[in-house]
Every structure is written in C-alpha cells, then in structure tokens.
Symmetry: C2
Subunit: 114 residues, 2 copies
Amino acid sequence: MFEHEKELYEAKANILKALAHPTRLFMAEKLLQRDYCVCEFVKMIDADISTISKHLSILKNAGIVKDDKRGKQVYYHLKTPCILQFTECALNIIESNQKEQSKLISHIESDMED
Amino acid sequence: MFEHEKELYEAKANILKALAHPTRLFMAEKLLQRDYCVCEFVKMIDADISTISKHLSILKNAGIVKDDKRGKQVYYHLKTPCILQFTECALNIIESNQKEQSKLISHIESDMED
DNA sequence: AGTATATTTGGTAAAATTACCAACCATTGT
DNA sequence: ACAATGGTTGGTAATTTTACCAAATATACT
C-alpha cells in the first residue's frame, strides 16, 4: 500500500467514521427530507444538547452537512445525499446476519437434543 | 426515536463502523477483485499478522466478508460488494472538502495582506 | 442594558478501538 | 512424532470516542 493510496483510504474511512454512529446516522437520514435545526433534533433524540451539537459538528467536519445560521437557530443541511445510499445494501447485510443467527440457534437447539 | 428504530440505526452504524478503518476498507476493496488469504494481505499491509487477522474478523462479524479455510490458508470473500458503492460519493465529498480547504487558505492569505 | 432562547466549547470520566507481542491451534510435509 | 507455515486468541498499553456538565457566545426581545 503506497503512501498516497493510504491517504485516500484514510480520507474515505473518515467519512464512514463520521456516519458510523446511530445518532449521526439518524440525523443524516432525517436531513434527506429537509433541513433541521439543532433544537428540532433535541426534541427527537434523548441526549444532551451539547452531545447533539458535537455530533453535528462531526458530520460538518467530514463535509457531509453544512450549517446555516437563521436568526437564533442553526439549521443543518445535507450536502451529499448520495452518501446514504449504502442503506439499501446495509439492510440486506442485516437481514442476512439475522438469518445466519437463527440458523446458528437452531443448530445449537438440535445439538441439545442428543 | 423509538426503540426498534434505535436498534436499526445501531445495526446500520455497526456495518459502517466495521468498514470505517483504512486497513479494513483497503482489504474490502481488494476483495472486490477476488478472494484473498490472510498471508496475501500481510504482504500488502505494514502491520502485524495478528492485527490484520483481527481486522478481518471485524469485517466477518459485521457480515461483510466470510472466511473459507483452504488447506493451511484462510481465504476471505466479500459477501456483499454493494456496500462499497459509497466510494464514488465519498470521492465527491473528499474533492469538495479539498476545494473548501484551498478556498479557506486563500482567504487567510488575502487577509494577511492587510 | 438585561433576559430568554439557541447553540457551541472546554473539561473530564468512562468506554471503545487499535496495535503489538506472546502463546496457542491447525494443517502440511519430513 | 516433529518442524514449518498460516492464522487466531489473550493480554495490555496507548489512543480515540463518547457523553455529560458547566461555562461561554450569539441573537432576539423587553
């Protein structure tokens, strides 16, 4: 792995890392619909305002969202909706994992019968 | 955010988390081409075998790859190539971030002139 | 100016991630 | 049976992430 290659993988991994948190993923997906301000997210998510604000700044630093001050409020906007296209494939993986899980459990159960 | 919703976001975030590391991303992308064994990755990546093995097991636990023992070697196979489709969008984000960066720098430079 | 509302920032403790080494297990070849 | 090769697992230290509280900032309203 060459140096410039490594840097690119780091950059790509950083974008994934920014999205790889339930709260941040939730907010990013919400932003597919429309812009939201911090105070709206506060109503939806059970966490401290400061926590939510920091999560948003992580998304912002990754270049996924941008902020936009409107009066007292700060609205967040999804710059690149395409980054959430992974969802469909992720659901396939989750489903497949659940099937594997239940297969495993039934194997264990049949082993118990002996 | 409801409980079952929360679980789904956690599951999706876990898949992203598994991919959100330069080494794991590199390996996953390599596996788009063909199956690779651990010893092949060891030659490509500057890290301990045990580190590489653990990274692969993280991808495996997330359900992204599966392993397949062939003689002394363990080959890894990409189960769901679609999960790497985010790359194209990620490159757009990276490019856009770089542009913002250079814009910022030129602003700072012109401020220095005053 | 002073208050209320909206948000960010700094500090800090707890938890998770990462990487390496050493030890272990599995398979092949002698 | 023994050595060699390929890989995983356990332990541990360093780093990063996360969440909260408290304090600071910014805007609108009185």
